[in-house]
Subunit: 378 residues, 2 copies
């Protein structure tokens, strides 16, 4: 089988120069040789997650993007506003590979990893927008029989994030949760988990269409933030479920605060004694995304028992340790084609990733849309 | 000694009616009889802390206050804006005693608590703006020989809050801290603790005068938020100390965010590898006061490892448990006249608490000013 391995392969790179130029290109890279315990994987599928866009495009001015060349010589350049450069210092002038997660076929193995040859595996760790990926056998998940690379391409980030939310809820002593941007791929997964596990979930969406998507998959509590009675409706849903923790993909503006106020109001309805410090029940909002990058504004009429903070899958997995992380991974594999099934809007090649029209499409972050990169197409 | 006990005594009360009227008055209350394990204390000193003002005045319109009557018939009335009433529901139409902490002489004891007779004790638990306070012997701290009620009146809230900040810092894995409104009585105490314990402390003040107060007591890192270079100076101080946790008495506006940005910038200066998610070091701001009640605004260019939340002494003491709480109390008693000495602007009687000019003075929250109520004066 190793005779079929190509001597080199394409890899997508993102470079931001200290002059403020972003450059996306495809580099031809010599195919690496797997060492002891390592696998060479032909990447067949890798999703474009919101979390990939930061590294791929940085804070580029989208209007400034222009493309040149074609095929493997295709490049895209654009301008990064000068005031955003200091925060990027550690990556400046360094050509960065991109792509958090993916799946593909093991085409060559190092000593001790022979059993993986010919298996389809899922991977996490960056540099997935490439024809080949070298990875430790201990780091991959072998997909179950009958699951394709496309089935397994998104089996780390979204599934573990959704499971991580429910796990965080339990570990921090809450019994129900609120989720925003709730009709997303991730949000739909979270609904499936919560329905299966009997965890009450309040879904906050931003349109009637999004509400309909969730209603169809059986979601029970859906609140539309564009409703004139949003705050009252949210308070009702929070009171019915008893939710005291929320995961927010929006980040900016008043939404986190509105959730905390709804929780505090719902708790105080049942209060029998006045406390000048508000309810003693801890209310928490974790911000895990940045669909709105404006400031988070917190109205503090929420007592003293509250918190708002960042939440990142990597930090969460480190915190719970390898054993519990493995338990979550095992569940993903067991329910790969049901709870954790992903749906893609389109499959694109590495070359297509560098076409301005395609960039515009996959950066839209439209609800339910998700693009799958197929490097083996190139 | 029990023959000398008066049959009744005055107690300050705060009432907010469902019509939105605030009424402060003095009620003549029958002196209670101590039961088993209980003490009757003649309250001789009780400070007006910022944390008392919320219960005392609620969200009253200060301009609307008017006084009538004199002596023990003195009353003050004022208007509470209607939109603030729903949040006050549990206290409406209920006459509330006020005064978080205080100290005084044990003038009568219940069975089993005889040893406390004639002792001067410090107390926490509300209803201290009164001539008499009934309290369980287990809840008081007996002041050391030579300490007056005035010495011990403030020995719970500020000392335990300051110690609680350093304790929280250690428990949550930080090694240096930032404090705002740092020239306050509490802030000065915190400086004394940190100097004694060798904990680096960044003091944020709002004027040159406040900086001078701290310099005189030996504070090493002082940053003035009115400086044109505040953000840069704060970043320097945070970098020098390695502070990654802050306690903020202000609450509203951009200050919490400026602190987090300073921490993130200081950490990233030392970063060797680029992380698109910012530094993995957790950065925390606890808001424990509300000198500015406007919204807290958080600029999220601080990575994903951050948190902002409320901090309240009561919740903190519950969290650490009785044994550790006692260890902190023991330290307060041991250093009552040094580290934890309080200074008062003026001593006022219960009647004087109801004079509009005095109310204006003790609600100013001017740095370093603190009023001591002496109910036994009445």
């Amino acid at each position: 089988m190793s005779d079929a391995v190509k001597a080199d392969g394409l890899e997508l790179r993102s470079l931001i120069t200290s002059d403020g130029e972003l450059r996306l290109s495809l580099e031809r890279v010599k195919t690496p040789e797997p060492g002891p315990g390592q696998l060479l994987v032909q990447v067949q599928a890798s999703p474009i997650n919101p979390s990939d866009l930061g590294l791929l495009l940085g804070p580029v001015d989208m209007e400034s993007l222009s493309a040149s060349g074609s095929g493997e010589a295709a490049t895209v350049v654009g301008k990064v506003p000068p005031q955003r450069l200091p925060a990027l210092r550690p990556r400046l002038d360094e050509s960065m590979p991109v792509g958090n997660e993916g799946a593909g076929l093991v085409i060559k193995t190092g000593p001790g990893a022979e059993a993986y040859l010919g298996k389809t595996v899922a991977m996490l760790g960056g540099a997935m927008y490439a024809e080949h990926r070298l990875i430790g056998a201990a780091e991959v998940m072998v997909l179950p029989e009958g699951a394709s690379a496309a089935d397994g391409a998104s089996c780390f980030v979204n599934p573990l994030t959704a499971l991580g939310m429910v796990e965080t809820m339990r570990r921090e002593g809450h019994s129900a949760l609120v989720h925003t941007a709730a009709a997303s791929n991730l949000g739909q997964m979270l609904n499936k988990i919560c329905l299966k596990d009997g965890v009450p979930l309040v879904n906050i969406v931003r349109s009637a269409e999004q509400a309909e998507i969730l209603r169809k998959i059986g979601a029970r509590h859906i609140v539309d933030s564009t409703s004139a009675n949003f705050q009252a409706e949210l308070t009702e849903a929070v009171a019915e479920t008893g939710a005291t923790i929320a995961f927010d993909a929006i980040g900016g503006g008043d939404l986190a605060s509105q959730i905390l106020v709804a929780m505090e109001t719902a708790i105080n309805r049942k209060a029998e004694v006045y406390s000048r410090y508000g309810s003693a029940t801890h209310k928490q909002v974790y911000i895990y995304g940045g669909l709105d990058v404006s400031r988070t504004r917190i109205d503090r009429s929420i007592g003293m028992a509250w918190g708002v903070g960042g939440w990142l899958l990597t930090y969460f997995l480190q915190k719970i340790g390898p054993q519990d992380a493995q338990r979550l991974r095992d569940r993903v594999m067991a329910e790969l084609k049901t709870t954790f099934a992903s749906h893609y809007t389109a499959e694109i090649s590495l070359t297509e990733m560098l076409q301005p029209a395609t960039i515009a499409a996959y950066t839209r972050k439209a609800t339910g849309e998700k693009y799958l990169v197929v490097p083996s197409k190139s």
